[in-house]
């Protein structure tokens, strides 16, 4: 093939190319009616967009109104809380409690009394104070666990005495 080609007679000079002929054809002029769907679609998109934007704005503003309303409620609640707290403070004021107690027939509390244990001597009598030493105070009529119950024969051997430093024994001695 190669050999045959190499032995092929020289080609004649190429003939001048003919001018290309433009293939023109007549097309129909575009019709206006064909844009309608596009325009309709575009219009629809615009309308939907505007309406959506408006709806979104309304929704956001509604939330803003709700937030404003909630903020107001918070302020009102905080205010009501302080008013209620003031009411609670007023109701539990010592003066009011004292008055209510008096109205219900309660008397004033006597000063606290302290009992020396195990001697059952009252450490809070004026006599004790005058002596300056509570331990020398006279016993009072006030009942005390240590003073209650007289020993019986059955208690012999486990009767508590004032000199006994073990007060629990007195409890055990009680019936």
């Amino acid at each position: 093939m190669t050999q045959a080609a190499s032995h092929a007679p020289p080609r004649p000079a190429r003939a001048p190319r003919a001018e290309p002929q433009h293939r023109l054809r007549v097309i129909r002029a575009p019709r206006a009616g064909s844009r309608l769907p596009f325009l309709a679609l575009a219009g629809l998109v615009v309308v939907v967009g505007v309406l959506g934007l408006a709806a979104l704005t309304v929704a956001v503003n509604q939330q803003a109104f709700a937030i404003a309303r909630l903020e107001q409620q918070t302020r009102d609640s905080a205010g009501r809380y302080t008013v209620l707290q003031a009411d609670v403070d007023r109701l539990r004021s010592p003066a009011r409690l004292s008055q209510v107690a008096r109205e219900r027939g309660l008397g004033a509390a006597t000063p606290a009394r302290f009992q020396r244990w195990p001697s059952a001597r009252d450490a809070t009598t004026p006599a004790a104070a005058r002596d300056g030493t509570a331990s020398q105070a006279a016993p009072t009529a006030a009942p005390s666990p240590a003073a209650a119950g007289a020993p019986t024969a059955a208690d012999a051997g486990r009767v508590w005495t004032p000199d006994d430093p073990f007060p629990l024994k007195q409890y055990l001695a009680q019936p």
């Binding site: 803003a64 009102d76 403070d89 302290f114 809070t124 005058r130």
Partner: protein
């Protein structure tokens, strides 16, 4: 062309030259600056109980030119505001552009008024100061004015702490003045005031006021004061005064009721002042508790002045401790003569006479002291027994607190700490302290003062079972402020002391002063009140008698 040029020029003028002014004017129409008031701080007692707080309120106002029918508007508002129709109609029909109809009403009333939608009538947010315990510690707490500024007491003294800093908000509004949500808004939040924690103990304060009221009533006194101090820290645990007032309606009270007499009024202390004479004499070494003195029942100090003891007696030779226990004027003056005027005056000054104690309260009186250079012949004797010198109840309480505290004077204080707007509590720095007399002198004096409440002393009614009590009675004449001399038959009775005397630093000092009681003697009228208040105070502090343990769960009052 001409028209185009004119329009262009106008546009340039509007958009470039006047743009900032016009923008500001437009903003001024749309934007509104609203002040955000700062909440006023609370005042607590030492255990966190509210003594003063601010609550929401509303203020109803009117713009009379916009009110269509004043009579009808007044008729609708009157039952809500509880103000007479005539009064309201007069305000609504007046010429003033703005009037307040009712200030600081309850929010529910404001809401009802707003619902009426009356033309020319509006409702503003406001706050109201309230004192839940009413009269409790009223003169100490003070009160605030209509504009929320402290006018008296702690409310005034701690105004800068309590008031806070107001804020503001800039908001966009519609033509009807309603805020536009999501409009422009700039907020500078207010900084609320700090809360003040006082040293007062509310139950003890009530006890002191209650006991004082009963004593005043029982003895037909003009008034009185009680101060309860903690010696070690100088904290005022209670401060009661009579007559009293309700700060929730301070406008209806008289100035005499609003005065914190214990701090701003000075009185002649009488025999309670003998403690200073005794302290000075012991400190100077001119006597000891056992020094025996020859005491007649009268003493001529100057050519025309003779001092007497309260009761007649023959010449006695008694130890100095008995001189104090029996409150002998003559014996005390004898000791003062040994001491000398300068040392006596110096001791009084060292204990704080003649100058304010430094308590955090406005208008404190320094008392009245005559400089020793101007003392006349009788002044040594007069000062030694507590006449001719004027002090406040607080100053006297401070003297006894010094003795109870081992000779160290601690400035009294009414506030122990502050809670800042972010809820952080911090203690105020401790008040200054200084030594006045030695520990030994204080100890000797305490022992002498315990003799006052023992058999033979003038203050046996102050004895509290189970506790050692030290104190001194006082019965002093009342000076006549219109002319020189004293008011005939007018006396101030007092008892000032501390308990437990064997643990005085941990205990309480109680000063009871009654103005013109019947009978006149401090040992009879003031000492029982001391006993009542001091025993309750020790109960609050959980101080059991010696040898007893404090019951579990008791004593949280410190």
């Amino acid at each position: 062309m001409v028209g185009f040029t004119v329009i262009s020029a106008r546009l340039v003028a509007l958009q470039v030259v006047d743009s900032s002014n016009l923008a500001a004017a437009a903003a001024g129409q749309r934007l509104r600056k609203v002040e955000l008031p700062a909440g006023r701080g609370r005042i607590f007692d030492r255990n966190g109980r509210d003594l003063a707080l601010s609550v929401d309120a509303r203020t109803v106002y009117a713009q009379p030119p916009l009110v269509a029918d004043p009579r009808r508007t007044a008729a609708r508002l009157a039952p809500l505001l509880k103000i007479g129709r005539g009064e309201l109609a007069a305000k609504l029909g007046g010429d003033a552009p703005f009037v307040y109809l009712a200030r600081k009403v309850r929010p529910v009333v404001g809401a009802r008024v707003a619902r009426l939608r009356l033309a020319g009538v509006g409702v503003l947010d406001d706050s109201r100061r309230t004192y839940p315990d009413g009269r409790l510690a009223a003169q100490v707490l003070g009160f605030v004015g209509t504009d929320g500024d402290g006018l008296a007491g702690l409310e005034l003294h701690y105004e800068s702490l309590l008031q806070g800093r107001a804020g503001w908000t800039l908001l966009e509004q519609d033509p009807r003045g309603r805020p536009i949500p999501r409009g422009r808004r700039h907020v500078q939040p207010p900084v609320p005031g700090s809360d003040v924690v006082t040293t007062l103990d509310a139950p003890l304060q009530f006890k002191a006021e209650d006991a004082l009221a009963r004593a005043v009533r029982r003895h037909h006194a003009h008034g009185g004061s009680i101060v309860v101090l903690s010696p070690a820290g100088g904290e005022v645990l209670a401060m009661a005064n009579l007559p009293a007032f309700d700060p929730n309606g301070f406008a209806r009270s008289k100035p005499a009721q609003r005065r914190n007499r214990a701090v701003v009024d000075a009185f002649e202390p009488g025999s309670t002042n003998k403690t200073i004479t005794a302290a000075a004499a012991l400190e100077a070494g001119v006597v000891t508790p056992r020094t025996r003195l020859r005491v007649p029942d009268q003493l001529r100090l100057c050519p025309n002045k003779t001092f007497h003891d309260a009761h007649r007696h023959g010449l006695e030779t008694i130890p100095f401790s008995r001189v104090v226990a029996e409150s002998s004027n003559v014996g005390t003056i004898r000791v003062a003569q040994r001491l000398g005027a300068r040392r006596l005056a110096a001791a009084a000054a060292a204990f704080g006479y003649g100058r304010p104690t430094g308590i955090d309260f406005p208008g404190e009186s320094p008392g009245l002291v005559t400089p020793v250079e101007r003392w006349r012949c009788t002044d040594l004797g007069v000062n030694a027994i507590g006449q001719g010198v004027a002090v406040t109840v607080l100053q006297m309480a401070s003297v006894y607190a010094t003795v109870a505290n081992g000779g160290v004077l601690v400035e009294p204080s009414l506030v122990r700490g502050v809670v800042d707007p972010w809820g952080r509590y911090r203690d105020l720095p401790p008040t200054p302290a200084r030594r006045v007399v030695s520990e030994k002198t204080a100890r000797d004096l305490t022992r002498i003062l315990t003799g006052v409440v023992k058999e033979g002393g003038t203050g046996t009614e102050a004895a509290i079972g189970g506790y050692q009590v030290a104190g001194k009675t006082g019965t002093a004449r009342v000076p006549d402020t219109r002319k020189s001399g004293y008011i005939p038959g007018a006396y101030i009775a007092s008892f000032i002391g501390f308990a437990p005397a064997d643990r005085a630093r941990d205990g309480v000092v109680v000063a009871v002063v009654l103005d013109r009681p019947t009978p006149i003697y401090g040992g009879l009228v003031a000492a029982p009140t001391f006993r009542e208040v001091a025993s309750f105070a020790m109960q609050r502090l959980g101080l059991a008698p010696r040898g007893h343990r404090r019951p579990a769960g008791e004593g949280g009052g410190r």
